[in-house]
Symmetry: C2
Subunit: 345 residues, 2 copies
């Protein structure tokens, strides 16, 4: 069972909760926006569902509520930020904004971030570049959840990357993907439904292939395409953790993570209108592709999420009753009002 | 059956063949080096095996033997090159060199290349950045060989990317991967051996899953991880073809392709020695991972190729007799000497 919540109401409510958890108002607004945007785009695993975990971190002191975010090294086009151990969204947003400022001055900017935390869906950051005539790249390392190819111990995360590219059409191209076959959240979905998972998604705690989502959660995710996913996860760990001087490799067993953001202005390569004409042609080619049997047609990466967002902005967001219960409990523990549900139509 | 050929002799012989096909001596040397390096690293699909195809293109006029490579747009840190319709290796090498020159001056360089051709293994270009204290990225678009997710017509290539990262150890980290489940060359290997291919590698000409490597070659490769591989292939096509104003999308049905090269100097983010200390720690962690059952242990991306190269530099390269026959025929048609084989030990 689900209830419907207006996204604007959800965002205000979420920001209020984070203020009560000790964040500055403007920081709480940033965090709330990243979470609600993920829910709008149908990426519930990175939406308000994360709030109880974040609240535990803020209350337990593993997340600093009012972090000092500082520039550690500055080379003009490139910089390294220290996130001060705060909510990852705050350091990530500063990182992407700094990369975009430098790109506005110089055509390109890149920022590595250390001493940050879980920062939600990477698409949120990359998409800001696409709004400024730039190609955006946003990367983070994740907690350790995969075994390297040939190994029997978890040592790499399924580190995700997001690319965003303007198209001049309704939806930018947005690719946001983890380097595992599936995200960990899919195991939880199967568990809640009491369904097995396909072989090839994960290993159990003893490193054996499994179809049991519970055993898989105690085991390891499998890297996308075996050595390809493992290799890409290592490269992204270097861009984030090794470049920034933050956590990487088995250091990610502890709290805190590292990110990498880059913005490339398209005008540095080609007149923007020419770029839009060409990419529009690519979008049209793909849209015109005859559908495969049983499929409804071809979409560009990020297009379904874009459509869902428009629909959910209009009609509201469906949230599971169990989730709403958790959120209301959290609010009650902070003396905050309950989340306002939309009356049934 | 194979014969052994000294890599130095193979390189001299290969360059001589390309001179006879109309290339300038220094260009022939560049092409020969990229091919022999691929063979040394065990990537035979991008080695001298390609020579007969290149020769057909050069003789048929679809590849310009002495191309004019020119700068189309120059923004300092970024540039676009036109490859003049020549061998892709020449434009790609100029592109990576230009990106590295700009990175030497400014810390960062990126070059998109259009009107180029098949340029061999991307690792060759990315690795040049790793030799200059930089993280290198090399991307190309490929001929159309995959269907977009949900579509029934081939419209994207299994566009590969290569990252190279210095480690301060013997081997740099080198990830060179196509965005399909397997490279097309693996279908040919199965066909030559008369073996079926696993389901999940490819579709037949009617878009149905197949285990027949011959039917698969007339069909389509499957993208790595479905929508992830499709999405990544689209993004890489944008970086190469759309950014440069070269061929992209279904334009890749014709000859010619586009590339993208980037170099990020590590010192722009962190002192180089600190970076080496950290990445050495990551390498050590991965090497120390207990092996999975039946596996010999964990290697970093590019490490097996690095070891094989050292062994083949010392002991010579094994080439299949059928390939040697093809190469000797090519040489004979150009009045060139036969390839010199190493006498059996």
């Amino acid at each position: 069972m689900t209830a419907i919540v207006e996204s604007a109401a959800l965002q205000t409510w979420t920001a209020d909760v984070f203020v009560r958890l000790g964040l500055h108002q403007e920081d709480a607004t940033v965090v709330a926006q990243t979470l609600v945007e993920a829910d709008l785009r149908g990426v519930g695993s990175h939406g308000v569902q994360r709030m109880t975990t974040y609240a535990r971190g803020l209350r337990g002191g593993t997340i600093v509520a009012q972090p000092q975010i500082s520039i550690v090294q500055d080379s003009g086009w490139a910089a390294v930020l220290d996130g001060g151990g705060g909510m990852g969204q705050l350091a990530a947003q500063r990182g992407m904004q700094l990369a975009l400022e430098r790109a506005a001055e110089r055509g390109h900017g890149a920022v590595a971030v250390r001493n940050s935390g879980h920062c939600g869906a990477m698409a949120y950051y990359a998409m800001q570049a696409a709004q400024r005539r730039s190609i955006g790249l946003a990367v983070t390392n994740a907690g350790i959840n995969m075994m390297p190819t040939g190994g029997s111990q978890k040592l790499v995360g399924n580190n995700p990357l997001a690319y965003a590219i303007p198209t001049g059409r309704d939806a930018p191209i947005v690719l946001d993907m983890a380097t595992s076959v599936v995200a960990g959240g899919k195991l939880d979905v199967a568990r809640l439904r009491g369904e097995p998972i396909p072989l090839g998604w994960a290993l159990d705690g003893a490193g054996r292939p499994t179809t049991d989502p519970v055993a898989a959660r105690q085991g390891a995710l499998l890297p996308l395409g075996g050595p390809k996913g493992y290799g890409l996860a290592v490269v992204l760990d270097v861009l984030c953790g090794v470049l920034s001087g933050g956590r990487f490799g088995n250091g990610l067993g502890g709290p805190g993570s590292s990110h990498f953001f880059e913005a490339l202005q398209i005008e540095a390569f080609t007149p923007y209108d020419d770029f839009l004409a060409r990419i529009g042609e690519l979008v049209d080619q793909l849209h015109a592709c005859p559908p495969a049997e049983g499929a409804s047609g071809v979409v560009l990466p990020g297009e379904p999420e874009h459509r869902l967002r428009a629909q959910r902005l209009r009609d509201g967001l469906p949230l599971e009753d169990t989730l709403i219960g958790e959120l209301d409990d959290l609010a009650a523990s902070l003396g905050a009002p309950r989340l306002e549900k939309k009356p049934p139509a």
